[in-house]
């Protein structure tokens, strides 16, 4: 390798999902403590590292399974899909990207909505999925969340949203920004009619999602160490040109600054939600 090649060489990440996924998916290495874990044990522990307590990301399917009773979930609008209405091309066509993500994730879009029971209590639920284009919010995510809120209002059921998203979906341009207004308006109507909304903030929740429905819970619950904020840490670092404080924008940091009601470990989430719903009269 020449000197210039050496300079241009991209630094390889200290760890990456590909490298840590040992073939066969039998074993997984914890991102935080690097402990090698037996995948089945990890799954049995709700995907929380038994050694250091690191919360792995959950897919929407896994999340619903950990939250709701048995097979009580029935989905809303499962066939709603995004449209490449701007003909947006970055490194590839948005339409193509959508198809690839659908194939890869087995999901139609970045949020799954529906209703089910939680400790026997009927709830409307929306769960975002980071595996579909980083959980970004375009027209479909906005519409499905809005409809879930509208159904919660109509059925007078509490609404629970589990967020995990990088923010607005740039490939839908201004329309993705408008979803912030749309979802927040729907929550305004819910609030006016005294229907509770519980927001669960999973890693990460930033940008247009945190600056709309995700921060508007009557109760905001953070998952341990979840990154939650408006701007991403890299953007902030580049703007202010100083080192960010330790734990910056993590759930615990938000708790300290009064932005979430509590930080709840995954194993405790269901009982805490049941207690809250009970207090709220459901």
């Amino acid at each position: 390798m020449t000197i210039s090649e050496w300079f241009n060489k991209k630094k390889s990440p200290a760890y990456s999902a590909e490298r840590l996924d040992i073939p066969g998916n039998l074993w997984v290495k914890c991102f935080k403590c690097k402990e090698t874990l037996f995948n089945k044990d990890l799954e049995a522990n709700l995907k929380v590292c038994p050694k250091c307590g690191y919360h792995f990301k959950l897919s929407s399917k896994e999340r619903i399974a950990t939250l709701l009773d048995g097979s009580s979930f029935s989905p809303y609008d499962p066939e709603m899909r995004s449209k490449d209405f701007l003909g947006f091309f970055d490194t590839k066509q948005y339409a193509k990207r959508l198809l690839e993500h659908e194939e890869k994730s087995g999901l139609a879009e970045a949020v799954v909505t529906g209703e089910g029971t939680l400790g026997g209590k009927h709830v409307c639920l929306a769960v975002m999925d980071f595996g579909f284009m980083g959980g970004s919010m375009g027209s479909v995510v906005g519409e499905k969340i809005t409809r879930a809120a509208e159904r919660a209002l109509k059925l007078r059921l509490p609404l629970i949203i589990v967020s995990t998203s990088g923010g607005a979906r740039m490939q839908e341009g201004i329309m993705s920004l408008m979803q912030m207004a749309k979802t927040s308006s729907a929550l305004a109507m819910l609030g006016q009619n005294n229907i509770p909304f519980i927001s669960i903030l999973a890693d990460p929740t930033t940008g247009g999602v945190s600056a709309s429905f995700a921060m508007l819970g009557d109760i905001n619950i953070g998952e341990p160490a979840a990154l939650v904020g408006f701007a991403g840490p890299r953007v902030i670092e580049q703007t202010v040109r100083q080192k960010l404080p330790p734990g910056f924008q993590r759930s615990e940091y938000l708790l300290e600054h009064g932005m979430v009601d509590m930080v709840v470990e995954r194993k405790d989430l269901r009982p805490v939600l049941i207690k809250c719903l009970d207090w709220l009269g459901y």
Partner: protein, 319 residues
Amino acid sequence: MQNRFLLDFERPIASLYKKIDELKKLGKSGALDLESETAALEKRIESLRREIFSSLTPIQVVSVSRHQQRPTTLDYIGQIFEDFVELHGDRYFGDDRALVGGFAKLDGRPVMVLGQQKGNSTKENIFRNFGMAHPEGYRKALRLMKLAEKFNNPIICLIDTPGAYPGIGAEERGQAEAIARNLREMALLKVPMVCVITGEGGSGGALGIGMGNRVLMFEYSIYSVISPEGCAAILFKDASRAAEAAQNFKLTAKDLFELKVIDGIIKEPLGGAHNDLKTAADNLKEALILQLDELKSLSLEAVVKDRYKKFRNFGEFIE
């Protein structure tokens, strides 16, 4: 006097200005009458400007919208409104100088006017944080909106910001929460609200005061989910491809009107608002009066419904 802060693509005009300056110098030293020649040159500048501005690319519109001399919110307030009383502070933490507002009268009618404030010089811009508000700015805005609602007066928002400020303090004090709350509360305001993007409509920072019953844009303003540079850096992994991103994004007034995201376009004087503040301000005033007149007849409930309907219907998807 025409504005001499020229943008890159206005360079052909610069040489004509230089000629005018030379002629003026000559005119001063000698007894020559160069008025007719100067006038001819000025005419050529005008036609050249017209030509250039008749076919601006999106990235060129972006640079007009960010022009250093572009009129600011306080410039417009000074031109259009009477009896402006600036109100300060969010009552929680502080007063954000990047977002100004207060009581004013428009054509004799009491209104609440507010908006992000940029500066026309580096010093001013630092004082105003380049029009990038902190949470206290958004909370002040909400306080003023609620005040307007309490006394049943319409709200006018003038939007001009690169975005909400991404900083440590802003995050600690809940930038996301402040914007989110504004969105929710704006949905419920029982008074008419008209928003105008006068320069840059930067993402959530713009939308945070942007949920009007009517949303208008100046001809050379922009409104987008992320800056073209930001988009290029993230999606193309190359910030220098901003022009391409701008093209892709549909962020000009014309594009957004076609997408039905905005309700109207306010004409700008030739060469952009900074060339003729008075004309730009007059056009803005006329548009605001027209919109408020239209909304006047709506009942309190109808105002809320009208706004809800407008924002409820945004989205393109397949079912």
